[in-house]
Symmetry: C2
Subunit: 205 residues, 2 copies
Amino acid sequence: MESPPTTTSYAILGLLALRSWTTYELTKQAQRSLRWFWPRAERKLYDEPKRLVTAGMATAVAAQTGRRRSTVYSITEVGRRELRRWLGEPSAPPTLEFEGMVKVFFADSGSLEQLRDTLRAIGEEAQRRFDELASRAVEALRGESAFPERIHLSHVGLAFHLEQERATIRWAEWASEQAAQWTTTADPGSWDAAAALRHIIAERL
Amino acid sequence: MESPPTTTSYAILGLLALRSWTTYELTKQAQRSLRWFWPRAERKLYDEPKRLVTAGMATAVAAQTGRRRSTVYSITEVGRRELRRWLGEPSAPPTLEFEGMVKVFFADSGSLEQLRDTLRAIGEEAQRRFDELASRAVEALRGESAFPERIHLSHVGLAFHLEQERATIRWAEWASEQAAQWTTTADPGSWDAAAALRHIIAERL
DNA sequence: CCGTCGATACTGCATAGGGCAGTATCCGGT
DNA sequence: ACCGGATACTGCCCTATGCAGTATCGACGG
């Protein structure tokens, strides 16, 4: 690895610390767990383990299923040490990419109907994600987790994401109610901005 | 523009729909407003308006301050139409990149102290962002906004982000309390996973 | 026994995006 | 006359995404 390891490198390294995986398994696992807080395209997850091997943080063992080759990656002692060290480093602030919110923010270039649809879609998507997380939680309660010895860590993660999605669902409902009082997207009419804002600020702290 | 416009293209187009800007002003404005839901590096914001011009959605006018050149970009009628059309299209689901959460998720490869520090840093960062958003809200209440006719839209956005940060602050506190009960990062000891999870699920819905 | 389909197991390529360094100029204050 | 901060960008290298393409394997149906 000529260039220094990225957060993605350490995310993959973290998965290798749990057990050895083929790249294919690694991509599936990343979809299941990492997706929520470190989403990466499958394509990238095929490159990253190779970099870890170059850096001495992982080893690759070629496997065979009939004529089909596959590669099993495992963490090395160097890798464990590096991972441990990284866990003590300061983190980059979280970043959110939210296309729906871009549409809400520029809603005055479109119609009230478009805004309503955007808000509904945001709420529905959040509900879908909430349900997925909730069913993951229920599975864990039934002991159907892949790493039962790690449920304390997946629980705190789950709690965060459930909170986020729930906040989004409630916000989308509130925003729809507000927008319903507007004359057009560019003119809120008699809608009381100050009252709405006071409500927002009072609600928290 | 040979390749089709991206969400970033439309985000810039949205800003141009408000008024004309030099690229420099555009980057500052994007830092202020778009950063919260569509963060992009300054570098990218210098390229994007050129693409809009190529696509016929904006025009560039060269300006001069003494010997220093600058470019003022404005939206075209085609641009307004395109923006309006885009507002009616379905959006990509939101994605979150949260390095701190990667560290929490893999905390069992490190020490309890590292986990405590990570959770504290997450909470502090969320508090900082909350304060920044809150002061933005207070400015708006005092009528110090750059686009007073658009406060209804910035308010709904502000409400969302305040909610998110507040949820993060509360979660970081809760997670710290949970972690304080664990023996090590790999062993929660007598900590009751099921109780914690029921608490999480009961809390919402 | 053969075809198909979904899962496994990748690679190449074009483009978007990030981060950092570098190059200027302008303006206000000391 | 000089300095520092704001204005106004560009080049370069690397990360990351998305999509298409190439195979093989195993199960199931006809």
